[in-house]
Amino acid sequence: MPIKKFINYGLLGLLIITLVYSFINLDYSNLINLQFNNLWHIFTGLLQPDLSYVYDGTGEDLVHLMFQTVVIAFYGTFIGSVLSIPFILLSAKSTWGRFQIFPLAMRGLLNLMRSVPALIYAILFVRVVGPGPFAGALALGVQLVGMLGKLVSEELDCVDETPIEAIHAVGASNVQVFQYSRLPQVLPIAASHILNHFEINVRSATTLGLVGAGGIGAPIIFALQQRNWPRVSVILLAIILVVVVIDFVSSRIRQKLL
């Protein structure tokens, strides 16, 4: 099919042109800052983490704030999961026999909700409930409603239909069918999604402090602005450590679920 090949080569050419254009178009002025002296200074600073910051009992130290960050993620994931339940039920195609317009509209809304970055929600909630970790948790929760709503309702729709038919055949009502054959199939998968998003939310929670929503975000931004490299490195190390541990534990739990 010569036409197809022509189109493909055309696209490839277009890609190469776009690529070259992007590179040429960039503003390379920042390369000046990559001077050897600067980099060396940064590098040595990073290699000497400020261990005094780890724990000093003031409540503003690393341990305390990392703990707060994880709790923000936990609280946010919890409310997100609970609040998403009505949305999930309303957007599953299988719960709406003839009126397919509802789930479609719902799905659209949920897509919108989950496309807004958590940071924006955090800014919103800081205005509503004031700065602090609660705002961050609410932001994560609202975004999770969008994500879970889409993911779990899709799972509900592609569940194995055979036991559902069988339960209908014994004379069960729609609610009974849902409880006895759709729900048991979806619950483990939903729980796995929730745990997965908890992991993701811990990462997000580390950045929400940037807009005043609590956690370790604010200290690390300050440290970066002050070019306090030892402090930056100790915070990064803590973040890496916590994320790795939580990922590990959560993967184990998810394996056992499925």
Binding site: K4, I7, N8, L11, T18, L19, S22, F23, N25, L26, D27, Y28, S29, N30, L31, N33, L34, N38, L39, I42, F67, Q68, V71, I72, F74, Y75, F78, L112, S115, V116, P117, L119, I120, I123, L124, R127, V128, V129, G130, P133, F134, A137, L138, R203, S204, T206, T207, L210, G214, I220, I221, L224, Q225, R227, V232, L236, I239, I240, V244, D247
Partner: protein, 259 residues
């Protein structure tokens, strides 16, 4: 009849874990000073936001054209760099190409470490090192993509057919030759797919990256937010969503027709 003979044999366990979860939730609420009454009291604020959001300031769009192109260029360059470096990196991280288990271990640990840092922090880090601007954005995207794609390629390599490798090995090919000749053809398809996927992800992420100064449309977002011009904010978000939508269409097409 006894409870354990019914279908509720795990009832206590189920109730117990639910109660535990609720207790943890309440405790967490204490830790973060959750005050739901504030949400109710200040709902007017939220309404104020929503009002602003629901009326995008369309006229602002001509000021956004250049940042839009900036964002797309950044993502293209960054994704490209990230994928190009990820391929050899992934190869180095597998046991098939590098026989030395110490090297593979070091590489793989290094990659996972990069992946655990949220990309906003990466951006902030690079801004602090290099300064504000598009180049920082490109670098952030490249590093982030590198982390993500190297893992994906690595997983792909693990699942390939060993046959061609053994064949090459038996005729005395060097490890590099084996990599190019036997491994690459099998994973090439996936690599292109990953590149497209990362591009989509990066367009979405560029919104936030700009917030810390890494260039692109996110910078305008930052400005609009600090001046509480929510009409502009919602326009910017809509544009980002539109770009994401566009890229997903294009990548769908490419995936189906070309790859």
């Amino acid at each position: 009849m006894k409870r354990k003979d019914t279908i509720h044999d795990h009832l206590f366990k189920q109730i117990g874990s639910s109660l535990l979860l609720i207790l943890l939730f309440l405790a967490a609420g204490q830790v973060i000073n959750a005050d739901w009454t504030e949400v109710v009291e200040n709902r007017k604020q939220a309404a104020f936001f929503l009002e602003g959001f629901l009326q995008p300031e369309w006229s602002y769009i001509d000021r956004l054209l250049e940042p839009m192109i900036e964002t797309i260029s950044m993502s293209i360059s960054g994704t490209f760099l990230g994928v190009i470096t990820a391929v050899p990196a992934a190869f180095l991280g597998t046991n098939l190409v590098t026989r030395n288990p110490v090297i593979t271990f070091i590489f793989r640990t290094f990659f996972s470490l990069i992946r655990t840092i949220p990309n906003l922090l990466l951006a902030a880090l690079f801004v602090a090192i290099i300064g504000i601007g598009e180049l920082t954005g490109v670098l952030t995207i490249a590093v982030f993509t590198f982390g993500m794609v190297s893992q994906l390629i690595f997983a792909s390599i693990e699942t390939i057919d060993i046959g061609p490798l053994e064949a090459d090995n038996s005729i005395g090919a060097t490890r590099f030759q084996i990599a190019v000749n036997a491994v690459w053809p099998q994973v090439a398809h996936s690599v292109y797919a990953y590149a497209l996927y990362s591009f989509e992800v990066n367009i979405r992420a560029s919104a936030v990256l700009g917030y810390v100064g890494a260039g692109g449309i996110g910078v305008m977002l930052n400005t609009a937010l600090s001046f509480m011009q929510f009409g502009r904010v919602s326009l910017i978000i809509l544009i980002i969503l539109f770009l994401v939508f566009l890229t997903s269409l294009i990548s769908e097409y490419i995936r189906r027709e070309v790859i």
